[in-house]
Symmetry: D2
Subunit: 297 residues, 4 copies
Amino acid sequence: MAIVLGANQYGKAETRVVRIYRDGPRHEIRDVNVSTSLRGDFANAHITGDQAKVLPTDTQKNTCFAFAKQKGIAEIEQFAIELGRHFVDDIEPVDGARIEIDEYAWERIRAGGEEHDHAWVRRGGEIRTTIVTVERDDTWVVSGLRELTLLKSTGSEFSGFLNDQYTTLAETHDRVLATLLTARWRYARVDLGWGPMYHDVRRILLEQFATVHSLALQQTLWEMGKAVLETHPEIVEVKLSAPNKHHFLVDLEPFGLDNNGEVFHAADRPYGLIECTVAQDDAPEPGPSWYTIPAFA
Amino acid sequence: MAIVLGANQYGKAETRVVRIYRDGPRHEIRDVNVSTSLRGDFANAHITGDQAKVLPTDTQKNTCFAFAKQKGIAEIEQFAIELGRHFVDDIEPVDGARIEIDEYAWERIRAGGEEHDHAWVRRGGEIRTTIVTVERDDTWVVSGLRELTLLKSTGSEFSGFLNDQYTTLAETHDRVLATLLTARWRYARVDLGWGPMYHDVRRILLEQFATVHSLALQQTLWEMGKAVLETHPEIVEVKLSAPNKHHFLVDLEPFGLDNNGEVFHAADRPYGLIECTVAQDDAPEPGPSWYTIPAFA
Amino acid sequence: MAIVLGANQYGKAETRVVRIYRDGPRHEIRDVNVSTSLRGDFANAHITGDQAKVLPTDTQKNTCFAFAKQKGIAEIEQFAIELGRHFVDDIEPVDGARIEIDEYAWERIRAGGEEHDHAWVRRGGEIRTTIVTVERDDTWVVSGLRELTLLKSTGSEFSGFLNDQYTTLAETHDRVLATLLTARWRYARVDLGWGPMYHDVRRILLEQFATVHSLALQQTLWEMGKAVLETHPEIVEVKLSAPNKHHFLVDLEPFGLDNNGEVFHAADRPYGLIECTVAQDDAPEPGPSWYTIPAFA
Amino acid sequence: MAIVLGANQYGKAETRVVRIYRDGPRHEIRDVNVSTSLRGDFANAHITGDQAKVLPTDTQKNTCFAFAKQKGIAEIEQFAIELGRHFVDDIEPVDGARIEIDEYAWERIRAGGEEHDHAWVRRGGEIRTTIVTVERDDTWVVSGLRELTLLKSTGSEFSGFLNDQYTTLAETHDRVLATLLTARWRYARVDLGWGPMYHDVRRILLEQFATVHSLALQQTLWEMGKAVLETHPEIVEVKLSAPNKHHFLVDLEPFGLDNNGEVFHAADRPYGLIECTVAQDDAPEPGPSWYTIPAFA
């Protein structure tokens, strides 16, 4: 038996870049969290401690800031592609780069009935995400969102399920359905209009959540993913991870009150967790970003 | 020397109540986090362990749920007043009640161009708050918000400050100013239109932040608080707590790039923390809720 | 009516100072989080924006680092006193300073059966705290701990409590009692052996929690505070804030199993919250640090 | 093009089970957080909404509690294997189960110089973890720890690295090295002494961190992983994920002070992130638990 170095990567995580565009009186803002990871010929850095091929993570951070000035952050996907391409093309020992970016949305403050030129309030709600992987001859873009909290107060059932000796759950034909959605979708191309794509996928996910009569969260997720793929053939795979944020109907009978779906306890833990993939059957192979390095995440 | 029991209170914290109104096809939702604390004749509960005068915290939780059905949650201030009044009026050993409620906002999902009847997306951003204190003969209402993130990309200076031997900070006449605001305001009355009041105070805070040319965060806070009091004489005091979320201009000179207020590093810690009170000079005395129990918070 | 500036303070929060002592091969470490707040003649900073009397928060941060070198961090109380005294004595507009410090504990890694000279593992568990307030002629020290998680699996009852129409809780004579304790204690003097005092108070709190047969969390807290005061007359007041971390006995009857206090569900929210003060009846007046600025916290 | 259901799983996450053993006066405690995920014939649950093959997540939670009574929680690996084996063997549509457990450690309170029988203080520090995957004919055990915070105040260099036009970092031959380690190791067998194995791997990781003179965090991780594999041939692979928690030497020159590795600012973000795998070259193939479902995590 010999001991060998397996999969590895290193980089700078969570560089918080804020880019202001101030070419005229009306400024623009981009607020992002950038994590870069490099893969390549780094065995010696581990085994002998020789760092001759290691571009410092501090340099990766500097590069994020410099690129924010030079290239700008029009869309997080474009910015991630440029960063990743630079590391792979310009830094000799680097074979692959994984660039992950979160974007926080801001909306203009309204003052005197008009949008202000240079003041914003953070919008809250979901975070837009991208994971771009660049290798010598290929680039993969996986975009998504997380922390999108959704709730419907009717139009959701859960019944006809399997029973065993540990089953005590009652069937229901009318419940609250709520989740804190994480969605990631894989693009087949790298030349898309990233902003409009993002907003349209978000619109589809919300509309499907609202309008599908839900027999289970599994079915809702499937319909959400399917609608995305049907509308956008340039998206070849959607992955959805959805905690079932349980809202338990409170028993008010001891107090002489009925409760026809009106008063709920929003519980923290435990929670159901439903995860699924919806894909085109002829989808091209995913890149390594789709998987991250096994088991690290 | 004798050892005595001093200030004390007990209650149920963070009861997560979701109230759905479903009288017709168009549902309404209220999503709140309720904490109740009772004060009164509870010395024996501590000193001898006799619980005869202690209404269980579990009962307080039940009361929140039952009241959500019976009284409804039209506004968090009204709901808190009703809860507090009940504990003080109906539970003999209770002299005072402190009810603290956070409210999370939801907006309707748009599907097919229209607002959906029973599906929502959580709006994120700031949380609306109230702290109501009820005693035998009086009631005090302190409302507010927290986690309101604001940023302006110009119109902010910091200069002319005091220097000592530990001062290295350079003056600036154009910086990013950002904060994560907590605001609490004290009402002189308990018969107000709580919802419109809240939204108008929020509007004023945002407008002032945007439009005041800032010489320091202190000055911005003062102007924010003053504008609230000038517009709403039924508010007698405003307290503002504002971390200065530093956005440091990144030095891009080593890379041959200028940086005229375009690229910033959004730092986490440490952060400036500016706290101030703006008040009417003839404001009535605050109730005990304004102070909470000393030093617990 | 005029609008006036009320209580206010400003400072630098959460400066993360790590101090290494390396006078010989065996290093020592102090790992602290320092927040400084100054009070004084700062009206103009708010009202006119004139910063001439404002020592920047950046300078306060620098002072923390410089003092860590010059004065050292033997004990957090001593370090806080020195910082506060400096701001009040040396910076003319400053009337008062509030210095809050958290300390994280480390223990030496054992390698080859011996404590290593310069490698540590963070101990986790509770955080040691102090809040020191310095004014022109006086100094107050309030020390404490937080995030001390305690549990006992028997020796805890809750019965004989008040019932109303919303009460459904059953009495119990044997339950799990668990809490995440925050304790603060006020010293009458500023010349004590801070480290031994801290460790002895911690010891007393733990021993009382373990050995008092509990009729309610209120009673346990009272006995904990009382034992501290009885042992250490230089401590004049103890404040305890204790969430009742509910451990619910799981009903296993549907599965044909009994459950004699063996299997529990550790719930998150809601939780009981018990807060009380135990004091010497002739305790000197507390300083302003004991109260913080009203309602900010 | 057709749209198909890809990888999917569902389960109950974060069931907080506390198991007390009270056969005599000296109780024992196990405090765990259990997440179960099932894989199998669940296409219809998604596509048609038919739940006939779906064992509710509520049932999975019930099973955790019932097994805690029936089987006990001697070690988290054993408990996870029993849970997973039950789901796969006894629930017909289930092909695979992934059981993830975190364990929180408690230590007995000392009272009167002796360990107390039924009172504990939570130890803090790292969390022990396991991920067990069970399929029809095989079982894989991956154990680990997370949130292990380590620091050494000397014996760490970083020099001789690659420079490009964005590199400004200075070389150092003496720095603070600190990390918040996540480690996972894969066992080749399922019949081991899980507790002693865990504690010995933890011991090795700590000893290596302390005693290896570090030329880079990469090298330290390699030596940590290698020592584990060399000592325990029943472990075939180790994965380490280590943020480089930067401790920046504070420049005290402006204050006329030197700083020979004595005063550091512990920064939050960004941080280096080093991830690597150390493996036996003839390691058997990992099971699906090693990878989770791609890209969800």
